[in-house]
């Protein structure tokens, strides 16, 4: 790409020659956009810091008195950075995004839909029925116990998915299955959390 202002070749948010802000590079994925390594394992603080540093550079406030184009580009850059951090800071979404980059869409409908085993679906129905049936004086304690149990399972499966992604596992079907199962478990956790108020186990 070339700078819209001076025509020099650019490969960054700002032109090296004239320092003009550039539109977001559509070839960058979320990892590249934030300048972090393409992998599941991420340091949450480093991710947040990378986003913050870049966001500061392109923040629309800095371009309030600039021309129309720089203003628009800073807005677009800021939006792209926010899109990236929103996906990457959530480990499950990050994992799903990595699958998406490899052509596997966990949320696909129709032909490409991820098929879950009846055994797993049965488990989910039973879990959700158990949540529905929680009442009485011990419900609060029981809900907390269930929440911790499901959350532990969620974390374990998520770690496995992450390991497989980072190891370059080729079994996309199996990994998409795992991700889909994690979506369901998260639903159950959310359900338990809604009734319990904010929990501290996530």
């Amino acid at each position: 790409m070339n700078c819209w202002e001076c025509g020099a070749p650019v490969a960054a948010m700002f032109c090296e020659g004239c320092e003009a802000i550039q539109p977001p590079d559509p070839r960058l994925d979320h990892f590249a956009r934030l300048g972090v390594e393409h992998r599941f394992e991420q340091d949450p603080d480093a991710l947040a810091a990378a986003h913050r540093t870049l966001q500061r550079k392109v923040h629309p406030d800095r371009f309030a008195s600039a021309g129309d184009r720089p203003r628009r580009f800073s807005m677009a850059q800021a939006t792209a950075l926010n899109d990236a951090i929103r996906v990457l800071r959530d480990p499950l979404r990050r994992a799903e995004y990595m699958l998406h980059l490899r052509g596997r869409d966990v949320g696909a409908e129709g032909e490409g839909r991820v098929q879950l085993s009846p055994a797993f679906l049965m488990e989910i129905i039973e879990l959700r029925e158990a949540v529905d049936e929680l009442n009485g004086p011990d419900a609060h304690t029981e809900r907390g116990r269930m929440a911790r149990e499901v959350a532990a399972r969620f974390e374990g499966m998520l770690a496995e998915l992450g390991r497989r992604l980072d190891a370059g596992d080729d079994d996309l079907d199996a990994m998409a299955q795992l991700a889909a199962q994690l979506r369901y478990l998260r639903r159950v956790i959310d359900e338990l959390q809604v009734d319990d108020g904010p929990g501290d186990w996530t």
């Binding site: 839909r113 679906l121 129905i125 959700r128």
Partner: protein, 128 residues
């Protein structure tokens, strides 16, 4: 997005919610899920020795359209033969409930559920 009156009716007064004994040889259980929205649907049928569906129950965790689709299907299959029930198509469900395009997948899920329940029943009967 506005739900049709029929969806709201099935959502507020779902028909045939519950469970049948899945170990019963005459009961078929279908379990399907849609990872896109996190919905999960269990649909069960109990079939007489003449192959007529005498009872149907469902349990769905999902949006109003998913609940309405499964509720409607349990109503439709009762009194039909297993083979007749297999002719129920998601289009019929979607049309009857006036589902908007973004909710068509809920009717697909309900069709899959009835198919899965019938397959399970046939497997048990050695016809599968």
């Amino acid at each position: 997005m506005a739900y049709s009156d029929k969806v709201i009716d099935h959502y507020e007064n779902p028909r045939n919610v519950g469970a049948l004994d899945k170990s019963d040889a005459n009961v078929g259980t279908g379990l399907v899920g849609a990872p896109a929205c996190g919905d999960v649907m269990r649909l069960q049928i109990r079939v007489t020795d003449d192959g007529v569906i005498e009872d149907a129950k469902f349990k769905t965790y999902g949006c109003g359209s998913a609940i309405a689709s499964s509720s409607l299907v349990t109503e439709w299959v009762k009194g039909r033969t297993v083979d007749e029930a297999l002719t129920i198509k998601n289009n019929d469900i979607a049309q009857h409930l006036a589902l908007p395009p973004v909710k068509i997948h809920c009717s697909v899920l309900a069709e899959d559920a009835i198919r899965a329940a019938i397959e399970d029943y046939k497997r048990k009967k050695g016809q599968g």
